[in-house]
C-alpha cells in the first residue's frame, strides 16, 4: 500500500545547522496496517509524516502510495488520498467558518458553484452525531468557539469523511486533557476500524503505542531502529520498549515528555 523507499531528508543543507532528519528510511505498510510510531525528540517522526504528505521534500528516495509514485505530487493533490491530523487542534479547521462550512469543504459534495444543500446538512448531522460530542446541533456555530477536543474530533471526522487511503496522525491527542484525549482516541480507533484505514500514528504515550494498532516502530536519529508486530509485539511491555531503545540506540531514551504509564 505505502512504500517509503530509501528516503533521506536534510534540513538547512549547506549551512552549519545542517541536520539529517531522515537517514535512508525504508518502510512498507500493507493495506489495513495500523502502525504506531515512537521515538525520542528529533528522531524524525514528524519529518517522516511530512515527507509522506508532501510538506517536506526528500533529498533522495521515493514515496509510492497504492501503486503510484507520489514523490513529485503537490501536497493538496496528495490530500485526496491522505488524511492528516496535527498535534495543534487549530491546524485542521478554519476557525472563522461554521462547522457545516468546514465539513462541506472537506466533503467536497456538489459542484464548485453549489451551496450547502439540505441533504448535505442531514449527512453532516448524522456523521457528527456519531462523535457523541453534541456537535450535530451546532452546525452553524463557528469552529473557533469549539474546545480543542471538539475541534480535533471534528478534524478527524473531516479527514475521514471520504475515507483516505492513508491516515497520518501526528500526536493528535497530545495537546488535550487526559479525559478528552481518551475520548478522541476512542473515536480514532472506531473510525479506523469502521473504514479499515491504513494508519501511521505518532504518539509519545508508550502505553498507547502498544495498545493501539497492530504494529509499532521505533525511530532514532532519522532511522527506524525497531519494528515489532504480531506475537513479538503482543508480549511487549513498556519496560521492554525502553530496553529495546537502549539496545538499539546505545543510550537512554531522552524525551522531555515521554509518558511511560497513563
Amino acid at each position: 500500500m505505502l512504500y517509503v523507499n530509501d528516503v533521506s531528508v536534510t534540513f538547512n543543507r549547506g549551512t552549519p545547522d545542517c541536520a539529517l532528519a531522515l537517514d535512508r528510511v525504508t518502510l512498507h505498510l500493507p493495506a489495513g496496517d495500523f502502525v504506531t510510531v515512537i521515538g525520542s525528540n528529533g528522531a524524525g517522526k514528524s519529518t517522516l509524516l511530512n515527507v509522506i504528505c508532501g510538506t517536506a521534500e526528500p533529498d533522495s528516495g521515493t514515496i509510492v502510495l497504492a501503486g503510484s509514485d507520489i514523490t513529485a505530487v503537490p501536497p493538496h493533490v496528495r490530500a485526496r488520498q491522505i488524511g492528516r491530523l496535527f498535534q495543534d487542534p487549530m491546524k485542521g479547521t478554519a476557525p472563522g467558518m461554521t462547522i457545516e462550512e468546514n465539513m462541506a469543504l472537506a466533503a467536497g459534495l456538489g459542484g464548485w458553484f453549489s451551496a450547502i444543500r439540505r441533504q448535505d446538512r442531514e449527512l453532516f448531522r448524522e456523521r457528527l452525531s456519531r462523535l457523541g460530542m453534541g456537535l450535530e446541533d451546532r452546525l452553524r456555530s463557528p469552529v473557533g468557539s469549539l474546545s480543542g477536543g471538539q475541534r480535533q474530533a471534528l478534524t478527524l471526522m473531516m479527514a475521514t469523511f471520504n475515507p483516505p487511503k492513508l491516515l497520518l496522525l501526528d500526536e493528535h491527542t497530545a495537546a488535550l486533557d487526559p479525559a478528552t484525549a481518551e475520548k478522541v482516541l476512542d473515536i480514532t480507533r472506531r473510525m479506523i476500524s469502521e473504514n479499515s484505514l491504513t494508519c501511521l500514528m505518532i504518539t509519545h504515550n508508550m502505553r498507547d503505542a502498544l495498545d493501539l494498532g497492530n504494529r509499532t516502530i521505533m525511530m532514532d536519529r532519522g532511522r527506524v531502529i525497531y519494528d515489532a508486530a504480531g506475537d513479538e509485539r503482543a508480549s511487549l511491555t513498556v519496560a521492554d520498549l525502553t530496553e529495546r531503545f537502549r539496545e538499539a540506540a546505545g543510550r537512554e531514551m531522552a524525551v522531555d515528555r515521554i509518558m511511560l504509564e497513563r
Binding site: 503537490p74 501536497p75 493538496h76 493533490v77 490530500a79 485526496r80 488524511g83 492528516r84 487549530m90 491546524k91 485542521g92 479547521t93 478554519a94 476557525p95 472563522g96 467558518m97 462550512e101 468546514n102 462541506a104 469543504l105 472537506a106 467536497g108 456538489g110 459542484g111 464548485w112 458553484f113 453549489s114 451551496a115 450547502i116 473531516m158 479527514a159
Partner: protein, 309 residues
C-alpha cells in the same frame, strides 16, 4: 443652511458613497475574506475608469462596464500570480502592480492625463434617457449606483456561499486546512483577487462616468478610503451572516462620505479627505489592538506606582 442645500449635500454624499461601496465590497472579499491587503487597488480603480472611459468614448456605454471589469480582472490576475507563483510578497506584489498600472493607465488614455466624458454616452446618460418622465427621472444617478451596489452585495453573498466561495474564505482563515481539503490555495487566491479587482475597476468606471471625466490620479488613496469605509461598516455590523456584513460595507462607505460632506460644510478644506481616511484606518486598527494590550499596560503602570508608594 436651508433644507434643500442639506438634501443636495446628502445626495452627493450618497452618490459618492455608493460608487465607492463597490470598491469597499471588493476589499471585503480580498482583505476580510482572503486576508490579502491588495495595494494595487488604487491603480486598478483608475484602470477601470480609464478603460471604461475609452470604451464609452468609442460609443459603447454598456460594453464600457464589462471592459472595465475585464481589465480589473486581468490586473488582479497579475497581482495574484506574482504572489502565488513567483514568490513575491503579497504587499509588494500589490505595490509593484500599482506602479506598473500608472503607465498602463496613461497608455490606455492615449498619453493624456485627463479624458472628458461630457459629450459621450455613458451608463448614466442611457439610464437618464430610460427613466425620462418617470418619478425617478431626476435621480438617475442614484438609481444606477444603488443598482450597482445592490447587485455587488447580492453577488458577494451568493458567491461566498458556494463551495468555491467557501474555499476562498478558508484560504484567508487557514490555508493548511484548504490544502488538506484537496484544494490548491494558490488557485483560490487567484480567483478571489480576480473577482475583487474586477469590482474595484467597476467602481472606478462608475465614478468616472458619474463625474463625466477621468484623471490619471482618480484612484489615488482609494485603498485607504475604502479600508476606512470597510472598518466603519464593521463597527456597525461586526459579525453575523455574510449578506449583512456585505450590506455593512455599503453603509460604511455612505457614512464615511456623509461625515466627510459635513466636515466640508464646516469649512474643512477638501484636500483633507485623505488624511482623514488615513486617521480613521489607523484608529480602526489601533483601538481593537489597544483593547487586547490594555490589561498588561495597566498592570505595568499599577506596579510602577505601587513601587513608588
Amino acid at each position: 443652511m436651508n433644507l434643500s442645500s442639506v438634501l443636495t449635500l446628502l445626495q452627493t454624499a450618497l452618490e459618492n458613497g455608493l460608487a465607492l461601496s463597490v470598491t469597499v465590497l471588493a476589499l471585503f472579499l480580498s482583505y476580510k475574506m482572503l486576508n490579502v491587503c491588495d495595494l494595487s487597488t488604487d491603480g486598478c480603480f483608475t484602470l477601470g475608469a480609464a478603460v471604461g472611459a475609452v470604451v464609452a468614448l468609442s460609443g459603447h456605454p454598456w460594453l464600457s462596464v464589462l471592459a472595465a471589469m475585464g481589465a480589473g480582472m486581468a490586473s488582479g490576475l497579475v497581482t495574484a500570480l506574482l504572489q502565488t507563483k513567483m514568490g513575491v510578497d503579497s504587499l509588494l506584489s500589490g505595490i509593484i502592480v500599482n506602479t506598473g498600472l500608472y503607465s498602463v493607465n496613461m497608455a490606455v488614455m492615449g498619453g493624456a492625463s485627463l479624458l472628458n466624458l461630457n459629450r459621450c454616452e455613458t451608463v448614466f446618460t442611457r439610464c437618464r434617457a430610460f427613466l425620462e418622465g418617470s418619478f425617478l427621472g431626476g435621480q438617475y444617478k442614484l438609481v444606477v449606483l444603488t443598482a450597482a451596489a445592490c447587485l455587488t452585495v447580492l453577488f458577494m453573498s451568493l458567491f461566498l456561499r458556494t463551495r468555491l466561495g467557501m474555499a476562498v474564505r478558508a484560504t484567508g482563515n487557514n490555508p493548511d486546512m484548504v490544502r488538506s481539503s484537496s484544494i490548491d490555495p494558490s488557485a483560490t487566491t487567484i480567483i478571489g483577487l480576480c473577482i475583487a479587482n474586477s469590482f474595484t475597476a467597476l467602481s472606478g468606471c462608475l465614478l468616472s462616468q458619474m463625474n463625466r471625466s477621468v484623471t490619471v490620479d482618480i484612484g489615488s488613496g482609494v485603498v485607504t478610503i475604502a479600508l476606512a469605509s470597510l472598518l466603519i461598516g464593521g463597527v456597525f455590523i461586526p459579525r453575523g451572516r455574510i449578506p449583512w456584513r456585505a450590506a455593512g460595507c455599503v453603509l460604511g462607505a455612505v457614512i464615511f462620505r456623509i461625515v466627510y460632506a459635513v466636515a466640508l460644510r464646516f469649512n474643512m478644506p477638501a484636500f483633507m479627505l485623505k488624511l482623514i481616511s488615513s486617521v480613521i484606518v489607523v484608529l480602526a486598527i489601533f483601538l481593537p489592538y489597544l483593547k487586547t494590550v490594555y490589561p498588561s499596560i495597566r498592570k505595568r503602570f499599577s506596579r510602577r506606582s505601587g513601587r513608588q508608594a
